[in-house]
Symmetry: C2
Subunit: 169 residues, 2 copies
Amino acid sequence: MLPRTYEQEICSVAATLEVLGDRWTLLIARDACLGVTRFADFQARLGIARTVLSDRLTRLTEAGIFERRRYSEQPERFEYVLTERGRDIWPILNSLMTWGDRHLKGGQAPYVIHHRRCGGHIDDRRRCETCGQEVDVTDVVRLPGPGGRPAELGPDAESRQITESEQIG
Amino acid sequence: MLPRTYEQEICSVAATLEVLGDRWTLLIARDACLGVTRFADFQARLGIARTVLSDRLTRLTEAGIFERRRYSEQPERFEYVLTERGRDIWPILNSLMTWGDRHLKGGQAPYVIHHRRCGGHIDDRRRCETCGQEVDVTDVVRLPGPGGRPAELGPDAESRQITESEQIG
């Protein structure tokens, strides 16, 4: 628990970290931005303990980041859909990704973000380098990048990339 | 500790969170962006335990985010200066701040970021709204915003803001 000093209390960086400043939370938000909505899918992708996942989904729903929607009556099942407040987390994730690509992956991005409409590459200011549009998470897809799995590169990497593109938002 | 699944291992968001994904680390980086370099100053601003601060500064120096420089010989004293890799954390901090301003402070930002050269407001894509320049942390200052302390507002808030502006970078 961080001390509630005056600076901590008023600063929006500190306030945001109180809500989102936990690695699991940000990885859950990342997968939600990639279209994951169901408990079992988050669990399988993240390899996270069920109790921890359940706790984080409950907290994020209470914080207005997810809306919990029933998608099955028998058995009763719920999915977790990002709200506008939740989709607005994407710029944070994008800045974390950009930093990692540059400083931990030597500029060889494992994934790249492209504009859904025109295919252009999205820069680190969330703008399409091809058409200039300023995008949000619903406008983009994630593709394997040059630092991705070797099997994804090679002569027909491009067609495979299109097939493997993942919805974001 | 996060499990090292394949997705976690290659994703730059997860990789960055391994290095920076700790609230103290990001608050130390925030204060470093505001010009803080000395142990005692970080300690006083953050109210953090000395052992925790010492651990984080050592780890961040090993990760190439701070350069440790001696500024006094007797007694021997060191300061922690952001490297380029460290200054590049600012977009992450800026996106955390923007989210908090919008979703936790009801749009009443406690602090606002302005362009050092022309005074223009910096938007959430790190661009000056007045002159259009795309800025980095060395180009900006932080000023009290509309959601700041009531004493900072009022008829002569503007002149007080200039006095209270803080170097960033």
